[in-house]
Symmetry: C2
Subunit: 433 residues, 2 copies
């Protein structure tokens, strides 16, 4: 049974805290294995990729080649029916438009002391995108990672995708085409991450690796961090719905279950100001669970991690939202903007009764790669800036250095860094520049 | 002797590659010790901090309190002489002005389908800043970390600083005052990081931890990542100077040594288009090394990791710069903007003959916390966005959901996520919203 909490109950704080702190993600410790694979790829390169393709995916990549050819991509993508292809195009285009608005501005100005300074943004040269194989291969995730990289101006977007049994996932290949990705390799696991980070005979290294994966992939990404950049770690999905009694309980139940069906350790939470409504949503959840295709997964998630919370007033939801810092926050209430403005921590907010979270998973435009497990307190969802970096610029002339330089000399001396001081003082008061 | 390379020599590519790849940073593996300390702090809280203060710093914090009182901060800061205080004020104010320009814009708009969407930026609630004790306690680093956090709107900026022998560093305390930090604790090492991440009886947890530290601190930060955010790992400092023969060799030598004096594993590299000038700089370095106070450190760095590289033309420096992706790039040449525009990877660029890198360490305004060891390929220096996070917003009404929802339903079905599909389809075509 899901937890049912009432904010006016005497033990509420303790039980709410226990719910927030419940660790759902038990990542297997595979570091020794992964460290061995990374070292092996660095030493033997392509050979390791071929061996592990054969071993885990029964794929002979010595014959097929590691690179997935454009003809293969095209042939697989051609299997996607027209309606689904049109939906993928809609998604790609809306993601493109949303992320294109995020292009950051450069800035270069002259300040009161005559110093010219500012910053500029440039795209990364090369990004590797890990795409899980088999059932967890979601074309929507390919679009959410690859499209922003392309929009940012990344020249090389490289995809690693395992191909169990040699099969290419048509939806994934179609998503690659729509995103404009042409460089893809059949490889998976820690060995794929190592190949992207360090390169092999066939694969030139990249500068950053993004995308979801199993514990081998996640562990490998952590280990190559520094050699390349990585994205934030992603835990199991979560949704927090704040809803009043004016909602159709079936709509809210569907929203809760849209996350619960992801994963047995996903979490779906309702906060409402009406205990009777909470009961109706609970009943609707039970009814939908009985018919939904992924019922076993969703039931496990809902029974173990689901929660129905009643608060005296909707405004009382705000501190609970911030304590959870949810990945997805749905505000199915009147005037959702008012409450949204008071929330400090959430990865993404879905406003009003007609914005189910799932619309954001596919076609709304904002990224669906979002901070989980409370990381919205300090992290952002994937966005254009994840594929760019910022360089600062400073230019003094003789006059402006004469103005600000003495303070630098003083501080360098105070820190005992006389070489720093000398590099400034040697240039001071030398006349017109 | 530093490496001397000429780009026209037959073995240049190999020797340059070896120089770029040379691993300078050999971080000790202290993970077992650190994991034990973190677990202990989570279990026993303040008691661990007191015990380790006594053990490592001979400080009785049960008597003094973990919190450094405002009176203590004020008394220590009062020991700083007026000229140094004025220089710190100049630095703080220039850092404040530069970072205040980085406030990111929110965006909320209605698109062609009638969907309202956008994003907003909010500051983190609480940030912990680690300040090393003893000689490595640089007030400039305190300003570079704390001022941007305050400018971003972070409500709680919390400092952890070990106090060997019980002494407070007057310069650090003055920097705290100027940055507006009032919450500081005497504690250091992995235990301080654990206390900031998880909290203790005395210390409320923070959401992100920044600032430099030794291998215990760095390892602890990596281990608490996820519970809190952390900044990018920082390796030994580096400078790459591109200079023509019109420069005074002594100026360029001083710039190279300003980094070499940081650390025996710092790296200073000159690229010039004039082999004779390279020789003059080498001679000037030797001369300055003989008189500079930190000669032993700077000599070790220069002998082991220094390099003088001659290229046929200054334009030939560009691919070498990008291969190194230096933390600091100085362009002591005519029209530095032209070459700067062609460089893709650098943490910070110092333009022209009157902009020694050290001016950026203290008073220029841009942050001196910058990506090292080639991380400028994918990472940015510390900036305002490191203390903020981004929430995306989406709002459909009945009409706009009817337009974009069907594509979401199609993709959810294609991915086998029927619960996702239901949460959208249940709302479609219900008439006026």
């Amino acid at each position: 049974m899901p937890v049912e909490l009432n904010a006016t109950a005497p033990d509420f704080a303790r039980r709410f805290e226990a719910m927030v702190r419940a660790k759902r993600d038990a990542e297997a410790d595979v570091s020794a294995v992964v460290a061995g694979i990374i070292a092996d790829v660095r030493k033997r390169g392509d050979a390791v990729l071929h061996e592990l393709n054969q071993k885990y995916d029964q794929v002979d990549s010595t014959r097929l080649g590691l690179r997935i050819s454009q003809a293969e991509i095209d042939a697989a993508a051609a299997q996607v029916d027209a309606a689904t292809m049109a939906a993928l195009e809609t998604a790609a285009e809306r993601i493109r438009l949303f992320h294109a608005r995020q292009k950051p501005a450069d800035d270069f100005y002259t300040d009161a002391e005559g110093v010219k300074l500012g910053h500029r943004w440039t795209p990364l040269d090369a990004v590797g995108l890990y795409v899980p194989g088999g059932k967890a291969a979601y074309p929507s995730s390919v679009l959410m990672n690859a499209v922003p990289a392309v929009v940012a101006g990344v020249r090389r977007v490289v995809v690693a995708v395992p191909t169990p049994g040699g099969e290419l996932n048509p939806l994934v290949m179609a998503a690659l085409k729509l995103a404009g990705v042409t460089e893809a390799y059949r490889m998976g696991g820690a060995q794929a991450v190592a190949a992207l980070a360090y390169g092999t005979e066939t694969i030139r290294p990249v500068d950053k690796i993004t995308g979801p994966g199993n514990s081998f992939v996640v562990t490998a990404k952590r280990m190559v961090f520094g050699q390349v950049g990585i994205d934030n770690p992603a835990g199991p999905s979560e949704i927090l719905v704040v809803a009043d009694a004016k909602n159709d309980p079936a709509w809210i139940a569907a929203d809760l279950l849209s996350q619960a069906e992801h994963d047995e350790v996903a979490q779906s939470v309702l906060i409402t100001d009406d205990a009777a409504f909470a009961g109706r949503v609970g009943a609707a959840v039970r009814q939908q669970l009985s018919t939904m295709p992924r019922s076993a997964i969703a039931t496990a998630s809902w029974e173990r991690f689901g929660a129905l919370i009643t608060v005296p007033q909707l405004a009382d939801a705000v501190p609970l939202v911030d304590a959870i810092a949810p990945e997805h926050l749905e505000l199915a209430i009147d005037d959702p903007q008012v409450l949204a403005a008071r929330v400090r921590h959430a990865g993404a907010i879905f406003l009003g009764r007609h914005t189910p979270e799932a619309v954001g998973d596919y076609v709304a435009g904002p990224n669906h790669v979002l901070p989980t497990a409370g990381a919205a307190r300090f992290a952002s969802g994937l966005n254009l800036l994840d594929f760019m970096k910022r360089t600062t610029l400073v230019q003094c002339d003789q006059a402006s250095l004469d103005r600000i330089g003495p303070a630098a000399v003083r501080l360098a001396e105070a820190e005992g860094l006389h070489g720093h001081a000398l590099s400034v003082s040697i240039r001071l008061n030398k006349g017109a520049s």
